[in-house]
């Protein structure tokens, strides 16, 4: 398909980008890797008057170790995130999940910030953001604010970002020692989106689960934090047959799964339980 015509501005700095955005108001949209936005334009599902390209805004790109957290610039590509030694060392769950996004071509263009700002519930990163309690740093002409992951995802493709605001970076808290991680993605072809995904982090001490964080991909209009599982799994004896499975049975408690060509809701609920169990086992095993 062919997109409708639009104006194109390539910003060379964050300030210039913010200025251009405020000039054009609601008509303007930020262009990051274009891997989600361009398909929308081509299918004529979006008609922005102006695209503000962040591709040359160097200050938005890169990974930095900030002591208690890792700061990932919004324009860092999936490839850069997945292969970053800092990310791999301090937030392996991010690296694991990012490596499952689409295919190498998409991972070289699509960005960490773009994925999160797009807030597609089938995207792999929003659930990871919820599981790890990431913080979103946003800039507008008025200044900077920080939005916790729990407040960031509002609805299907909708975030707490204002139209004039740009996501500049994401803070990923370091969880410290003793944690194991796993991202369990269920999809039909290698390149396809998750039908259901489970992001899990488990801290164990000895043979028992001390603490766990679990969030689900594509089980509702926003990523779902499976708090029921987190409660149930606390103290679970890893040697006891069925303890993790029993906890995983609560995976879909707070979910509102969609119905589409690849899965109807009852099947998604079933998958969420099975995959949560597998993710817990893998994360606990890797701890």
């Amino acid at each position: 398909m062919i997109p409708a015509s639009f104006d194109y501005v390539r910003a060379s700095s964050l300030d210039e980008a913010l200025e251009t955005l405020s000039e054009h108001g609601e008509e303007a949209k930020v262009l990051a890797g274009g891997q989600s936005l361009l398909p929308l334009l081509r299918l004529r599902l979006a008609y922005p008057g102006t695209l503000v390209d962040l591709g040359r805004v160097e200050e938005l790109r890169g990974v930095a170790d900030r002591g208690d957290h890792v700061l990932i610039g919004a324009m860092t590509t999936h490839y850069e995130v997945a292969t970053s030694p800092v990310v791999r060392e301090h937030c392996p769950l991010v690296a694991l999940a990012t490596a499952t996004v689409a295919d190498p071509a998409v991972r070289h263009r699509g960005t960490f910030g773009g994925s999160l700002a797009h807030a597609d519930p089938a995207g792999d990163l929003p659930a990871v953001a919820r599981a790890l309690d990431m913080e979103f740093v946003a800039r507008s002409p008025e200044g900077e604010r920080v939005i916790p992951a729990a407040d960031f995802f509002l609805d299907y493709l909708e975030t707490a970002l204002d139209p004039g605001e740009i996501l500049t970076g994401i803070r990923v808290p370091k969880l410290g020692p003793g944690w194991g991680f796993h991202y369990e993605k269920f999809h039909r072809t290698a390149q396809a989106w998750a039908i259901v995904g489970v992001a899990a982090a488990v801290r164990r001490s000895g043979g028992a689960v001390e603490e766990a964080r679990v969030a689900l991909t594509n089980m509702g209009p926003v990523p779902v934090r499976a708090t029921g599982v987190e409660q149930a799994v606390r103290g679970a004896d890893l040697g006891a047959n069925g303890a993790l499975r029993a906890a995983a049975e609560r995976a879909d408690e707070d979910a509102d799964p969609p119905s589409d060509l690849h899965a109807r809701p009852d099947y998604r609920r079933h998958l969420a339980r099975v995959l949560t169990h597998r993710a817990l086992v893998a994360a606990a095993g890797a701890a």
Binding site: I2, R42, F186, A190, A192, A263, R264, Y267
Partner: protein
């Protein structure tokens, strides 16, 4: 095994030396030559239709119906005409007087209903995506933008998307004459007796889901005129047939119309069509006197490239207690979609004769009803009719084996035609000339490690492993080399099945071959060069193959149905023979010998028993100079040949598939896949290997991934590749392939065709494997594609048979 392999059959795998070494024994045929066209194709130094730019060219964009069924009550193009860059806007009304009806060349029965099929809808639309108007503008973006400004009012009519519902008394009618296009029947032997006397009867209903052919190159058309003559470039498989059909449809005289298929990036049958866009682009160019171009987008293509399969198959088999098959009964509904296109109604007939597969039986009964629905028309898609037939028979043979508690291989052995029984006339009336099912199967079993996998399967069943192993068998044969013209005539097809070739030796001894086949990925330039190199004793590099342009290749029947080598390749051989005869006359004359004393080996004419010889290159130059030729000899070293086969060819093979099915998630993973194909003699093993790999991928895609889905209103839901899932290399296993070679006896090359084999064979192998994995749970079928959700629901239903919650439509 050795005994069977000794029966004139050799198992072969490609060896490094085949690719790199010098021609073994000087022969080109049989060498794994790298394809000479590939350097051009993979580096983009090629011309695709969309690359063509002409001075003053305009661009066409089509407005497509958003309704599956509606009356057009008002069309207003006035605003669209005023949009920037817009040169013209047309609706169906503008073409009504001249656009005619898109052709159907296969009226399968006397009473078939062939509805009028205007290229652009005039008063009624019958599927989502049907063209209702178009914009012609100075670039494709302006053309696309202006579509939004066309106003069309529709009065909605009821859609009908389901074949069974369409045949109900009260169903909405797609056409005035009703929803039944035709019924076609075929019967041999006493089917009543076969079923009455049988100890076992098994009946199943299989759904051949609707598929969307996805060629790498989208369809594209460029039309131009210099006044009264027209040239149409199109990404088509059938430039020759297209020219004839367009002449008949548009009234442009045949000699004033040139059709060119430049390099074409795949078709799989989807470009075996006379499309609305081709006709309309010609009409627009005729109106405006300017060249025009149209290239579809992928989502436009998903809507409007003709679709494939979409059949509902009820099949039953009757057998004795020892497994001997007595008879097969087939009752088929075939979804035509809204109209009959080029060979739409013929597709199920191409399968009608293949439901007996490789098996002997007493009786066969086939009924097929073609049904209209408000969906995109269906037509040929890789295998066309034969994959459907092969799927049904191979699936039900596995079901019969389960019913009898017999190993599926053993059941097949008891029923297949023995290699000593060829030629064999099947219950369907086809005469299979050659084959060796024993040899291919033994080889496949050995490569697969059948017994070991069965042992692992038993172990997993015993342990109640959540991941179960399934083994699927497919011992297929297919009917290739379309086709003997007389047979096509007897089936009411509108044309013949011959093929044409011209071979000319140029003054410097280089050779040009003009073929009537129209390659779009098959590598004819390479294979034909190998054939000619052997026939005329010239180097492989000295042969050029011309194709696809009706002004240089004046005669042909084009490429589909695994026919090119089996029919077109033979025409090349025959033309070479004639050239060689002519050259021999000249050589004998120059060497002052009698032609009877001249022998020809590897490009040299030699007087028997002497040292005197002339090369074919010397003869070429002498013929060009024409100073000293035999009396009355026409100074030309060229010849034409048209070959019309006496019979089809029948490749066969044994495909074995092992899958692991995760019974918790429903996910299927192909663990191993073995294909042993017998495609007769092989001209180029590398090309054969490529065709087999691609074919298997496409067959697996039907088994596990692809499905066109419509909602109840007739909207296609799978318009993008995010929804219509094509597997990529990452989703497919590595294949183990091998061949047995039982030469065809019906053509001088001994070849059988390989274009569709993989697709035909693999779908049942995979689904048989999935069902085999789940059989202990009581599952007897999983509808295609066997998605994780479908597998999960099948398991759920089998566990609680009374539940009504499962089952996708």
């Amino acid at each position: 095994m050795t005994e069977q392999l000794d029966a004139g059959v050799v198992a072969r795998q490609i060896k490094e030396s085949d690719v790199l070494g010098g021609p073994g024994g000087g022969r080109e045929v049989g060498r794994a030559r790298r394809r000479k066209e590939d350097a051009r194709l993979v580096t983009g130094r090629s011309q695709w239709t969309d690359n063509i730019q002409l001075p003053g060219m305009l661009y066409v964009a089509f407005l497509r119906s958003p309704m599956a069924h509606a009356r057009i009550t008002r069309v207003d193009t006035s605003v669209a005409r005023t949009q920037p860059g817009v040169v013209a806007v047309f609706s169906g009304q503008d073409f009504a007087a001249e656009q005619g009806s898109l052709p159907c060349a296969w009226p399968v029965s006397e009473d078939i209903v062939i509805p009028d099929h205007p290229p652009m809808a005039v008063s009624e639309v019958r599927y989502v995506g049907e063209a209702v108007a178009c914009v012609v503008a100075t670039d494709r973006y302006k053309a696309a933008d202006a579509l939004d400004a066309i106003e069309i009012d529709y009065e909605p009519l009821d859609a009908v998307t389901d074949m069974t519902a369409a045949l109900d008394e009260g169903s909405p009618k797609v056409h005035e004459a009703g929803n039944k296009a035709f019924t076609w029947t075929f019967a041999q032997g006493d089917i009543e007796a076969a079923f009455r006397d049988a100890a076992v009867r098994v009946e199943r209903t299989f759904v051949q889901q609707r598929l969307i052919p996805s060629a790498m190159e989208p369809r594209a058309v460029v039309a131009q005129t210099d006044g009264d003559a027209f040239t149409l470039h199109s990404a088509t498989q059938i430039p020759h047939i297209l020219r004839v059909m367009l002449a008949l449809t548009t009234g442009i005289p045949e000699h004033k119309l040139r059709v060119v298929a430049p390099d074409v990036g795949g078709g799989f049958g989807s470009k075996l069509q006379v499309t609305a866009e081709e006709v309309l682009c010609l009409l627009i160019t005729r109106r405006l006197g300017k060249p025009v171009k149209w290239t579809e987008s992928r989502s436009e293509g998903n809507l409007t490239v003709h679709h494939g399969r979409d059949q509902l198959q009820r099949i039953s088999v009757a057998a004795d207690a020892d497994g001997r098959i007595r008879g097969v009964k087939v009752d088929l509904l075939a979804d035509m979609g809204a109209y009959l296109m080029l060979v739409t109604p013929g597709v199920p007939l191409l399968g009608a004769f293949m439901y007996s597969g490789i098996y002997k039986m007493d009786a066969y009964d086939f009924t097929c009803t073609g049904v209209f629905t408000t969906k995109m028309p269906t037509d040929a898609y890789r295998g066309a009719g034969r994959p459907e037939a092969t799927f049904a028979i191979e699936r039900i043979v596995d079901e019969l084996a389960a019913e009898l508690g017999m190993d599926p291989i053993e059941l097949r052995r008891r029923n297949w035609i023995q290699h000593t029984e060829f030629p064999y006339t099947t219950v369907c009336g086809l005469t299979y000339d050659s084959g060796n099912y024993e040899a291919a199967t033994e080889r496949a079993l050995a490569l697969f490690g059948y017994d070991k996998l069965r042992a692992e399967q038993a172990d997993r069943r015993e342990r109640e492993d959540p991941v179960q192993l399934g083994i699927g068998v497919s011992t297929y044969t297919e009917m290739c080399g379309l086709a003997p013209s007389r047979v096509l005539g007897s089936l009411s097809y509108g044309a013949g099945g011959w093929e044409h070739a011209s071979v000319r030796v140029l003054p410097t001894g280089k050779v040009e071959v003009v073929t009537g086949t129209s390659p779009h990925g098959q590598g004819h330039e390479t294979a034909w060069s190998q054939i000619v190199a052997d026939a005329l004793g010239v180097p492989f590099e000295d042969v050029a193959v011309l194709h696809g342009d009706t002004s240089s290749s004046h005669k042909g029947m084009d490429t589909y149905g695994s026919r090119s080598l089996v029919v077109g390749g033979v025409a090349v051989v025959q033309a070479c023979e004639k050239v060689k005869e002519k050259a021999k006359q000249v050589a004998a004359h120059l060497m002052e010998a009698s032609p009877d004393d001249v022998e020809f080996t590897r490009g040299e004419f030699r007087v028997r028993g002497t040292g005197t010889s002339r090369t074919i290159q010397e003869i070429a130059l002498a013929t060009f100079a024409a100073h000293d030729l035999p009396d009355g000899f026409e100074p030309r070293l060229d010849a034409d040949a048209t070959f019309d086969p006496d019979n089809f060819s029948f490749p066969h093979g044994t495909h074995l598939c092992a899958v692991e099915v995760d019974t918790e998630t429903g996910a299927t993973r192909i663990r191993s896949y073995v294909a042993v194909d017998d495609v007769g003699n092989v001209v180029n093993p590398l090309i054969v290997e490529g065709q087999v790999h691609g074919g298997i991928a496409q067959g697996i895609a039907q088994a596990l991934f692809e499905e066109a889905v419509h909602d109840a209103d007739g909207n296609l839901l799978t318009t993008t590749m995010a929804d219509y899932l094509l597997p990529s290399a990452a989703d497919l296993p590595a294949y183990t392939t091998d061949r047995t070679e039982t030469p065809a006896t019906t053509n001088p090359l001994g070849v059988k065709g390989v274009g569709e084999a993989g697709t035909i064979a693999s779908t049942p192998a995979v689904v048989n494997a999935v069902v085999d994995a789940l059989r202990p749970y009581g599952v007897r079928d999983v509808p295609m594609p066997c998605t994780p959700e479908r597998v999960w629901r099948a398991l759920g239903q089998a566990r609680t048979p009374q539940s009504t919650d499962g089952g996708l439509s």
